[in-house]
């Protein structure tokens, strides 16, 4: 149902038609990650092109979140490399990732609960502020002028995501769906080149999901942001993504356009729980 709407918003019959992608923005190569005895990822490789909407799917515990955590540097894989914008690294540092334009949201909402929506979104501007943190502590006038500029930018994002009404509300009091939206706003405030979304629609009702789909498509279209998202709702995934990677027990079992992946035998087996 939301598929029809989302597609209509984009004004296209075929998901792939008329979509233009750039070069490879991110490549993960041979990533293996384990926690003690648990192998979260085994030898996973794929690449994401600029301006693409890229989905990572798979059953629970397949290693999807771990993959995002490797990309933005929260987890350091035992093997493999991450190449982002042409620079290859083994260990990504979260701070570097953020500085180089990787923003993300979390599966379990990670907002700053004590702050208002506006303040939460403002934290997304921290790296865009010209002066370093220590400098800001010492000088007060220029810092304030800068604050006002960034505030204007943040207000535009708040308008874009239609959360004007909750600007001043402490986020801890917001319903779940809106919290997810504030998290997206915070990530967008970073003006990311690559946006990682870990289950952006989990736990939402149909209407909220439709809104979220629309925002994701709009972000991609209007700002050209590359998006890598994890999602369990197959309707949504097949509808909005340009390409899909399927993980199962930490291994990549399929990689291709939604149509190809949908018909893949290994994928169907994984989802139906066929014994390995």
């Amino acid at each position: 149902m939301q598929s029809a709407t989302a597609r209509a918003e984009r004004g296209e019959g075929q998901p792939a038609a008329g979509r233009k992608f750039g070069g490879e923005i991110l490549k993960v190569d041979g990533i293996s990650l384990s926690f003690g005895g648990v192998k979260a990822l085994s030898d996973v490789s794929f690449s994401i092109r600029e301006h693409e909407i890229f989905a990572i799917i798979g059953p629970n515990g397949a290693g999807k979140s771990s993959m995002l955590n490797v990309i933005n540097g929260f987890y350091h894989p035992q093997q493999g490399t991450v190449t982002y914008k042409g620079v290859t690294r083994r260990d990504v540092d979260p701070h570097d990732a953020a500085r180089n334009g990787i923003a993300r949201t979390f599966q379990n909402i990670a907002l700053f609960k004590g702050m208002s929506t506006l303040d939460n979104v403002m934290t997304g501007r921290i790296l865009k502020m010209r002066r370093g943190i220590l400098w800001q502590a010492l000088y007060w006038g220029p810092a304030q002028r800068e604050e006002i500029e960034h505030r204007a930018f943040v207000e535009r994002i708040i308008d874009f995501l239609e959360i004007q009404a909750i600007r001043k509300t402490p986020v801890g009091r917001l319903p779940y769906g809106l919290q997810k939206r504030v998290e997206l706003a915070r990530a967008l405030a970073m003006e990311p080149d690559l946006l990682l979304l870990d289950e952006p629609m989990a736990g939402m009702n149909v209407e909220e999901k439709e809104d979220m789909c629309r925002f994701i498509l709009d972000v991609n279209e209007q700002f050209g942001t590359t998006i890598a998202l994890i999602e369990h709702d197959m309707g949504v995934v097949m509808d909005i993504s340009d390409r899909v990677v399927v993980l199962d027990y930490g291994r990549k079992i399929a990689d291709g356009t939604p149509d190809v992946v949908r018909g893949d035998k290994a994928v169907i087996d994984a989802y139906l729980g066929v014994a390995h």
Binding site: P94, A103, F106, A110, F112, K113, I133, A143
Partner: protein, 302 residues
């Protein structure tokens, strides 16, 4: 009536002034706990170390220079702690970090004594010795306040006001509150955890210096200063480990409460209440309101 108000106010005022100092030490605990989730056992040792540094430097330098140099030394100490202890232990559990701060305590105690000696030093800031008499016209005989107490309270108040502006009105403040709320989310927007820890430990170091200076003027600079920090523990139980206003209000309540209790209900217990009153109050809070007056309620998700 007026005859009774006089002594009451005098006790209350004395208690509040001691309370400001408790608040200052508690503030050190709260700042570090908020930003790094560490209960910093070394806060008391830092108070003693800072006071020792100041008093020994004042033997060779004028006060202002000695104070500035002591600040620099506390920042250097923060830098060393961040680099040598916190960074290697990042993402470890709270208990492990707590144990590490116990280690830091012993180090700072030993290092301070080796560096500065272990005698009792008097910290002389040139304040008048004799008490001031205020409110004489309305109250017969007025009430006595000690200039040292007033100095300590004013300094502490100024520091607290400065910190409030710093944390509420600057970008660093927002970053600090972000880190306190959620480490990973803070990192994901590019807030450098290490820089924040450095700032927080430095601020806690300077807070320790001011606390050490204020207590040192009152009691002399000696080992027992480190024990004053133990009084901050009931204060943070009362105020909540995550609340800066809580540390301040908690400090004032404990300070005033223990002095008033000593004078007004102490005789019924044969005196000496002051020494344990704060801990009993803390115990009652732990039983009935464990999150403290201002702390956030801890809800375990299942």
């Amino acid at each position: 009536m007026l005859e009774e108000i006089g002594p009451f106010l005098e006790v209350l005022l004395g208690g509040l002034m001691a309370g400001v100092l408790y608040a200052l030490v508690a503030l050190g605990f709260v700042l570090i706990f908020k930003a790094s989730g560490v209960f910093n056992f070394a806060q008391g040792a830092m108070v003693l170390f800072a006071a020792l540094t100041l008093v020994r430097l004042m033997e060779v330098l004028p006060f202002v220079l000695a104070f500035a140099a002591s600040c620099a030394i506390m920042v250097a100490l923060a830098f060393a702690i961040e680099r040598l202890v916190l960074r290697p232990l990042v993402n470890q559990e709270g208990l492990i970090l707590f144990m590490a701060t116990i280690g830091i305590t012993f180090f700072i105690d030993g290092f301070g004594q080796t560096l500065w000696g272990s005698d009792i030093y008097t910290l002389e800031l040139g304040l008048p010795k004799s008490p001031w008499i205020i409110l004489d016209p309305p109250l017969p005989g007025g009430i006595l306040v000690s200039p040292v107490d007033v100095f300590a309270a004013v300094t502490a108040g100024a520091l607290v006001a400065g910190l409030a502006v710093f944390f509420n009105r600057t970008k660093v403040g927002r970053a600090l509150r972000a880190v306190a709320d959620d480490h990973q989310a803070a990192q994901s927007v590019g807030i450098p955890l290490n820089t924040i820890w450095l700032i927080v430990w430095s601020v806690a170091g300077v807070v320790a210096l001011v606390a050490g200076m204020a207590w040192g003027t009152k009691l002399g600079v000696q080992f027992s200063l480190a024990l004053v920090a133990l009084k901050a523990i009931p204060v943070i139980i009362l105020g909540g480990l995550t609340s800066i206003p809580g540390a301040i209000v908690g400090g004032l309540i404990i300070g005033a409460g223990e002095k008033l209790a000593e004078v007004y209900i102490g005789p019924a217990f044969g005196g000496g209440i002051e020494n344990w009153f704060a801990y009993v109050v803390a115990l009652l809070f732990l039983l009935f309101r464990p999150q403290g007056l201002f702390g956030e309620r801890i809800i375990e998700r299942v």
